[in-house]
Amino acid sequence: MKAYFKNVLRSMRGNVGKLISLTLIATVGVAFVAGLGTLSPTIEASYSEAYRQGHVPDIIVKATDLAGLSDGDIEAITSLPDVVLSSALTSVDMPITLPRTEQEINTRIYVVPDEIPEVNVLTLEDGSWPDEAMEIMVERHNETLTAHSVGDEINVDIPLDIFGETLDITFTLTVSGIVANPMILLKTGEPMLTDPAKTLNDIIYVTRSSFPSFIQSLYGVIPITDLYLQVSTAPGASTTYSDLTLSYYSPEYLDRVNEVKEAIEAMGIEDIQCLTLEQNASYMTLGGYCDKVDVIALIFPLFFILVVALVVLTTMARTVDEERPQIACMKSLGVGNSRIVMKYVFMAVLCTLLASGIGLGIGLPVLPSVIYPAFSTLLYSPEMQWVLSPTAGIIAALGIILVAVGVTVYVTLKQLHERPASLLLPKAPKAGHKTWIERVGFLWKRLSFRYKSSLRNIFRYKTHLVMTVVSVAGSTALVFAGLGLVDVANALEGGNYSTLKGTMGPIATVVVCFALLLSIFVVYNLTNMNIGERQRELATLKVLGYRDWEVTTYIYREVLMMALMGMVLGLGLGVLLLWFLTYYLEFGSLGDVMWWNYIGTLLLEIAFILVVDLLLSRKILKTDMTTSLKSVE
């Protein structure tokens, strides 16, 4: 047993380079999936925390009639056992005309209590709460709101009914403070309630006491139009959702709120409308993005598991190949097949387990902290809350480990099928035969001799061909989809998608890097195996007087031809993948991808494959010519 472990350890030491690179690629895969999986929980938790601190109303009861809510209605609603806290205020969305320019400004006016309300806490960002008549506060600036600073004077014409005639009276309002409303987070503009196609240009807060008294006298008592409610977390409970750490995006929350909403609606009060966060523009936009991120987080793991499977396949195939004599020795000593298989399974599990650990450890905190800030281009982002939601990462890790074990068992068992005697010998070069291309006579005759030779070799090692084509195709598809997503995001009109642009940047970078790494890795491994298996051929070519570049191109031509097949296939796959993504995420279209992305993807792939070739040229040239003199049979 001791010797067995020693053997395993020695093997691992001998293959340390390969095992480390295998671990690295699996790590990147797990990290990416884990990070992506924890992204939307992080976003939801961060904004939920902001909603909690702002004591946002769970339900807004809005009067649809100018008369507003009657005292009786307010009394009835607030005394519901499900309502814990309430705050009454007035809001109206209306166009206001600016003097001189006659420009219409879509304005929302809030008439709020004199003191900071209990529900929907307005945070004073600058200046002070109004304490004189004609003083107002304005909402903090965003893309459609006019920028104001404390002390600014705003002249507005307000139509007043005086003695039976409507006159435009100009009022001068002074900005005393800038506030942040916890329900208004979108930087791209808040839709008007009266006409959601229009966005607000001004949001003004007036306190009851600073409201011009003569207007009050003209209009009479200002009606209460909005009732902000915080509901109890359970029937009969006195806690609100501001007291819990539950996500405002959780079904529990939404179910409970809708339950209370229905209860209010069942009271039969006329001319009211119940709004929940689901009708809030900021909340909805964010939720939409979380859903999209979740879709991406679901699709990419599948790709990554496939990629890692390919990498494990090549690495283990190579390791087992190189240890043929050792395996034969163990076999002839009577070591059972399962013991031999276990050795390689152990190596594969160790690598993928390590990769899972490191990947989860890195991906969970790093990816959200890279991508989360991108959301501040679209919304006022609260401080990020650290949420470790490892489910997606763990599923991906388990998938990768299982696939690694399966692939390793398969590769090892395939070798073990041979008799020990034949295992002791290096793998015999495969016999050549005619390929199907040769039957296309006119094509074959046109090919130069060296291309004929390369083509035969390509079809001679079919596993290498399949593996190279599949992995280069996968890599090309991912690179294309990654670059394409950026294009699609860039092509989108309007600021609504600026977050998507921001989010796509880092995600695309990771996908593209990962894909390129994959192609480097697999092509390196396969070319390396190819060179290893064909030392004799290379040595013979050198003895025959092939120059260095002729010997290297002998190998490279094959690699490039296989890679080219993979790239063509991969570009098709990439188009399909991107089409699926745009269709499923419901944004952009394939047509937004710039033409040069198609070429760029291919150039990137070729560049990286050439780098691999250069890395391996030393090994090719190092081939000892005397190998050609040694025996094979």
Partner: protein
């Protein structure tokens, strides 16, 4: 001027602190068109000598004149050119490209040489005129070695170097391959060097170089080489 002139060739290898001389001051000449056998037990330095004459290795000191050029002083690139244009190599295990037909295997060597013969003509000469489109796996050992000889000769080299050309063949096949080598060499006026441990081959050679412990023990010249058909081993 001899076709090949080895002069005081020493090839030593560093093995830790000690120095091992695989070749220790070897000198001999091979005349134009001469059939030479280098004979010696394994470990005598045959392979090292073969490597140096074949341009795969350079001696530590000494000279190797091939048609007047000192191969010992050539750089890596020039050695490649030397192998390409001046040496035809016949391997013990044929070393044919498994994915190429007999004809293509010869083409492989021919396409980079200046004054090469036609592959078809060469294959017909070695008696494989009707097997040209066969892959190595479809040929017997003797036939494969014939392809290998055709490949070496088609380059029209000045030296034909053979490493145990019959080593992997049965008695009868080995004999016929040797006869072919001998005839081809006579016909084309090539200098042939056969490296072998099979002492029976010495009777057919024009010249025999005996190697032992890295030294040329003796060099004998046969005035009347015996035809291969009459040699037995």
């Amino acid at each position: 001027m001899p076709a090949i002139s080895a002069q005081h060739i020493i090839r030593s290898f560093q093995n830790g602190q000690s120095e091992i001389r695989a070749l220790d001051d070897i000198s001999f000449d091979v005349e134009n068109g001469e059939f030479t056998v280098v004979l010696g037990p394994s470990g005598a330095g045959k392979t090292t000598l073969l490597n140096i004459i074949g341009g795969m290795d350079s001696p530590t000191s000494g000279h190797l004149l091939v048609n007047g050029t000192d191969v010992a002083t050539l750089g890596k690139r020039e050695l490649t050119d030397y192998r390409r244009n001046h040496v035809g190599f016949v391997f013990q295990f044929y070393n044919l490209m498994a994915n190429l037909t007999a004809r293509e295997n010869v083409e492989l060597a021919v396409e980079m040489c200046k004054d090469a013969y036609s592959p078809e003509e060469m294959l017909r000469k070695v008696g494989l005129g009707d097997r040209m489109d066969n892959f190595p796996a479809q040929l017997s050992g003797g036939e494969q070695q014939r392809v290998s000889i055709a490949r070496a000769l088609a380059k029209n080299p000045s030296i034909l170097l053979c490493d145990e050309p019959t080593g992997a063949l049965d008695y009868q096949t080995g004999k016929s391959v040797l006869k072919l080598l001998h005839d081809m060499c006579r016909e084309n006026k090539k200098s042939v060097i056969i490296v072998t441990h099979n002492a029976a081959l010495k009777d057919m050679a024009d010249k025999v170089v005996h190697i032992k412990n890295g030294k040329a023990e003796s060099i004998e010249t046969n005035e009347h080489p015996i035809p291969i058909e009459e040699i037995e081993w």
